[in-house]
């Protein structure tokens, strides 16, 4: 099971860092939560990623 997560993470590496981060978080939530809850949780993550990116810029 762990190896699969690693495989997916490997495949994510070809995408930009913000996409990698959001996707990884989505996968982590999806292991234990249903879709709707994952969506709600990700909203906060998205805001944080955008803010961090803006701060860097």
């Amino acid at each position: 099971m762990v190896k699969k997560q690693q495989l997916i993470k490997e495949k994510l590496k070809k995408f930009p860092p913000d996409v990698q981060e959001l996707a990884s978080q989505a996968l982590e939530y999806a292991e234990t939560m249903p879709e709707k809850i994952v969506t709600e949780q990700l909203k906060g993550i998205v805001r944080r990623i955008i803010k961090d990116k803006e701060a860097l810029e």
Binding site: L12, F15, A23, A30, V38, V46
Partner: protein, 680 residues
Amino acid sequence: MIIKKMILTNFRQFRGTQEIEFADGSNGNVTVIFGENGRGKTGIYRALLFCLYGEKRLSQDAQVDESELYLVNYPEMEALSERRKPVKSRVNVEFMHYGQMFQIERTINGMLENGIVFQEERGVRLVKTDKDGNSTTTRDPNEISEMVEEILDRGLREYFLFDGEKIERLTRASPEQRREISIGVRKLLDIDTLETAMKATNRLKKQFDQELENRATGEYGQVIKQLRENDERKSQLEHKLDGIDQELVHARHEIKNVDIQLEKIREIRDLLDERIILDRKRQDLQSQIDGFFQEMKNRTGKTARLLVSNTAEKVFNHIDKRKKKHEIPSEIRRDLIDRLISEEQCICGTPIKPGTDQYQKIVLWRNKTTDTLTEDSMLNLWRYLSDVRSHYEDIAVQTETLLQKYAVANNELHVTLRNLESLREKIGSSERADASKLEKHRQSIESKINNLEMGQDKIQEELKILQDEQERLNQQRKEIEKEQEIRDEMAKRAELSADTNQALKNIHEEFTGETRDLISRKATEYFLKLLDEEGRQTLRDIVVDSDYSIQVYDRWRKPFLANISAGQRQIMSIAFIAALAGVAAGTEVFEMPLFMDTPFGRLSHEHRRNLLENVPDWCNQWVLLATDTEFGRFEARILRNTNQWNKFYVLKGAGPGNTNIESVDVALADGLLIEEAEGY
């Protein structure tokens, strides 16, 4: 899941409290539970399913009324019935799952009253102990059910806990069953996690787009709105496409069934045509035979002559001889000679006295002559026989020819009648099968498939157009954003969600494709190891389809699933399961038992050996519930050689309706087994 122990209390045939400790990999991973038919092997399988999932029925119980399905030990209920006390029946299963210990206990009470059995479930309890030794107890059946489903999804249960003879139905699954299986498999392979993440980011994207649309104005607002509407339209079309896909699968499945029925009818039609031809032949032959018979009757008169030919020949020769001697016709008539004798005077007038030489000579002469009537008759007879004799040979040849023809026709008729009888048996009761209705039905399904495929093409075309439109609009959006420097947070959120969703979709497509290929390769590898020599000559690859249905190909790359034997299906299913488990585990150990009831029923000698030699290496735990006809010394020797077999239990009868579970040292197993198990 590695099953450590099972404790049965008054469950099915197992009266009192009885225990099984399973080989758990610490010193071997194979457990054999052995017993004659009716001793309770399936009861152990039943106990496991009851404890883990609360299931009271197996697939074999489909026709059994619930009221006749006794889980509680009947003799114990009988014993306590007079005291009107219920019997407490319990199954306790202990298992490990990735370092955590689980213990589930499920109870059911039973009571026998006035000959009727009452059973009532009394609850379930789960105790979970983590790696640090901390325990939590749950008694909520729904919560327990969820936890167990997390460990081994009910849809996948049949892959790992199964009836060996029925496992081959994995290869025969209907479209609905395949759908269920694919859901379970995706869960096992963690693909469902990926899919949940995909759907969540898609939902997120839509929500952000909606927010953006609500805020955006002008051209930008229109583009955003159009993007959203296109997205919705795309979802609708994709949903419709899914529906069409399913309908197509159903329709193609149905056409296959119709074709099978039509094929049967075509075979029968050929037989019917053959029967018509044979029937005509029968009639012709009968007609010929009747003709020959009539001819023989007509010839009876002539033919009968042959019967008297010898006698006729003798008579003819006798008369002929006398004729040649001039005895007939006689030169002087007898009545004249009589007159000469009576007058005692010759024709010339010379007296003929009795006693004289002349008188004696005339008397002698008279004796040689025949009376006129007889003479005439003899001459007529001689003429008649003369004529008849000349035809004997012809009559004989003609009669013989006629008889030969009759015999040949008669033989041929008997053969034809036998063939007709044999045809009748083949045709059987399906004689009146009408293919026309099936043909019409097939045509209507074909027409439906055509329409569905056209619908599919249309939708795919529309999706392509939408996709192009979305790309164009997204490009336009970016340009507008760039131009208008609209980089507000909302737009960025929407963009990030969209990009993440697309990334996950790409990964999903890659991952599922790679996973299926890997399962196919592994399944093929295992399958070829399990097959016998003959099977390896023909069968080559197992391929897993996108819906996780399995197909096997022969060496000419033709689908061959419909032609393989039940035994080959069984091992194909086992190879698939082992491959699935192997891929799910990756390089880790996949903690899931293979729990097989009646593992070898349909398998040949070689298949069994291959299974026994290989499966212990492919799984963490292998539990075999085998009868004495399946598991003999031969099987025991092979299993012992793997050094993985370290638990052996024998189910022994202990009175009517009761079985005792006895642990036996594996080294002493041979004493209880027959030399050669049956059923090869």
